[in-house]
Amino acid sequence: MSTNKLTDGRLAQAALDRRTFVRGAVATALLAPLGGALAGCAVPSGGSGGEETAGGEMTADNPFGLAQDADVEAVIFNGGYGFDYVQFAADEANKQFADVTFEVSPSTQIAQELQPRFVAGNPPDLIDNSGAGLIGFNTISDQLEELDDVFEAPNYEGTTIADTLYPAVKAPGTYNGRFVALNYVMTVYAVWYSASLFEDNGWTAPATWQEAIDLGAEAKKADKKLFVWGKEAATYYQTMALNSAIKEGGDEVRLSLENLEPNAWSLDAMQGVLEALHEIVQKGYFVPGGAGTQFTAAQARWSNDQDALLYPSGGWIENEMKDATADDFRMTGFPTPTVSDSPAMPYEAIRAGAGEPFIVPSQAANPAGGKEILRAMLSAEAATNFSQSRLAPTIVKGIVPDDGFGSTALVSQTGMLDAAGDNIFNYQFVDYYGLNADQLVVWNAFLSGDLDVKGVTDKLQKISDDVAADDSVEKIEVS
């Protein structure tokens, strides 16, 4: 080794650098994953509870006892419906309570943004717990205010709110007997098509799966497909399948799915639907490549390009695709096709339920303020504003006029609700147990043609079975 001083120094420097580097690299290796992975985890800090505002006196005009100088905070999911409709309601409430400050802010990541505030004990007074990042109800339902008093209160027109609503709107927000989530939007699940396109071609909406398959053949002649799907929304076809199976087999099917029973997905009614869908897939009546297509792009191929005739979705679809819908499309919905000509529930039966759950945390500084905004939302002014601007019905009856504010989709939604009468059903096991993420993978494979009926049945059953077997998940008994 050279004894030259300069070389020695450089060598020493190199050795030092390497050691420093090793330390640095190890430290980095430690920091990078943990830092990134855990940055979102907040530390519990005792949860001492928010600063309670001294309550005001409960009167007929102030049913929840909101203090006259209160500050009320609402965090609203800013998705398909936006959040300004709540601002509108808050402004209405402000007319009743001039000195109360209402602050409405949007969020697209409810769980991520509000998780630390729940832990710290100072959540906002009102939350629209919706969207892909919603907080699972099985984790927070016991930290929420019961909202029965909202329905018992008078609206701003003086009528008791409960008397102005569609039936059974409490059901989807009731967990273990406590009504804690007020679902504001009435969502109708249907299959949608362009009335103008169908008229031009002399097509009619299919009432059974056989008719749907025949329509697929017609579509093929016109160089179109029957259905289209996108990767994030493959389970819209699951919703359609469940609706059809429940109509075919009645409550027995619904209850076995809701209660995660071991044979739920192999019941005859369910199998009949899956077989029909499999045939449609095999015949090539789906626009190919859905498993690699972003869902709004896929939806635009139906609403804008009209490459596909039908799309199963909730009533939000018109608003969602407003900017990507062909002129004179005349979006119209019809009830899900049935397996046979003699289903247990009539063809007109639909799945409809209240959606967009609003919650009032018990630990909030001002729960009365949260409830007051809900009261405003359920009054005529705000409810009309919502239906008119979002083209969707709320749980408040009699708000949508006959012309549906010029929306064919809205007219057909109220039409379907009227035609269904008492044959309206709903189910929650997918959302309640958070199954959608796992089911998406299965449905993408099934619609791509990678799974047969047995394959899709087994995989969907396994998802239900796994939750049923997991003792750490609190179950809801549906009857």
């Binding site: 992975a37 985890c41 800090s45 907080i135 993978v441």
Partner: protein, 344 residues
């Protein structure tokens, strides 16, 4: 090795010894008895204690908390939690989805750094020493231009890259299938690159590699520039081909940089959250692109199982550490301990 550390210790001691005025203190133990001046105390406070405090508060304590949370059943939305010991970790061992994510992350950790580094070295070689064989050693014509171009992807945020490529891969409207069908490959029409189990992972890896090449090219260019040009001239005079020069001269001489790159790329690849979440938020067809960080996110925020999710985070950290250890081990075993530059 011992010779090197001796030299290091020696040269380390030299400057401090000369900094002390001679005759001020007796030779033995003079370091210990030196008066702590304000100058020195404030230097320690600012340079050592402050960073240490920041490190302990913001790095160490969250680590410790994370390890604790991983042994609880914390839901994430209350301040209450029960201690469950190692139950979460035991559960992970039987969690098919998590094991699949582990496998995917391992695959990413192997493939992404290897491919990225190979391409980056190739590009770096071409723009620095791969040029004309007459005259001085230099890069190919227009080297500066290529260098700038190759850096472009690195300037785009990862989330944007993910979203843009998701569109490129779109089966019917995407650029890729448009080009492929345009040149006559009609079988590629409507092929779902991100929706087919055979291609989803490879397509995702391509995007990650694409986004990193520019930065590592620049890193290797700087390293190659640090190698004396005479070495390349000598190699050329000896008749070494460009490939031989790259393999036998360049790679050994920039070995430390390659190892650094390997570790950083591996960490990024094991994580991959942003890319995967942008291209396939559901985990891809048959979970073929599902990575640990996505599982962690879903478990924490969608399922409200923060304790279990934190256990995943702890495992992710251990996997990353293991990866770094393996890289060092491989480097050492293959002779990386010798300082090539010292001998040259």
């Amino acid at each position: 090795m011992s010779g090197t550390s001796h030299l290091a210790a020696h040269s380390d001691a030299t400057p401090s010894a000369t900094a002390v005025p001679p005759g001020n203190t007796p030779g033995q133990g003079r370091r210990r008895r030196r008066r702590i001046s304000f100058d020195k105390a404030s230097f320690f406070a600012v340079a050592l204690l402050l960073p240490l405090a920041v490190y302990v508060v913001f790095v160490i304590s969250p680590f410790v908390q994370a390890v604790y949370f991983s042994m609880t059943d914390w839901s994430g939305f209350t301040a209450d939690m029960a201690f469950v010991g190692l139950d979460n970790f035991a559960r992970l061992l039987g969690d098919e989805k998590f094991l699949r994510a582990m496998l995917n992350s391992a695959l990413l950790a192997v493939v992404v750094p290897t491919v990225t580094i190979a391409i980056a070295i190739a590009v770096a070689t071409m723009v620095t020493v791969g040029g004309s064989t007459t005259g001085g050693v230099r890069g190919v014509r227009g080297a500066g231009f290529y260098r700038v171009i190759s850096f472009f992807p690195y300037c785009v945020p990862a989330i944007v890259i993910g979203l843009v490529w998701a569109q490129v891969y779109d089966p019917s409207r995407g650029l890729l299938n448009g080009v492929l069908t345009g040149i006559g490959l009609d079988g590629m029409a409507d092929f779902p690159w991100l929706g087919d189990t055979r291609t989803a992972m490879a397509a995702s890896m391509f995007v990650i590699v694409w986004s990193f090449i520019g930065f590592y090219t620049v890193l290797f260019v700087a390293a190659i520039k640090g190698v004396p040009g005479e070495i390349y001239e000598a190699a050329r005079l000896d008749g070494a081909s460009r490939f031989r020069t790259a393999v036998s001269i360049t790679v050994p001489l920039i070995r430390d940089n390659v190892r650094t790159a390997w570790i950083y790329l591996g960490i990024a690849a094991i994580d991959s959250f942003v890319y995967m979440q942008a291209m396939n938020p559901g985990g891809g067809p048959g979970y073929s692109t599902f990575v640990i960080s996505q599982d962690l996110y879903q478990t924490a925020f969608s399922k409200g199982q923060f304790g279990y999710a934190t256990a995943m985070g702890v495992v992710l950290a251990l996997v990353t550490l293991l990866f770094a250890a393996v890289v060092f081990l491989v480097d050492r075993v293959t002779g990386g301990g010798d300082d090539v530059r010292g001998h040259a």
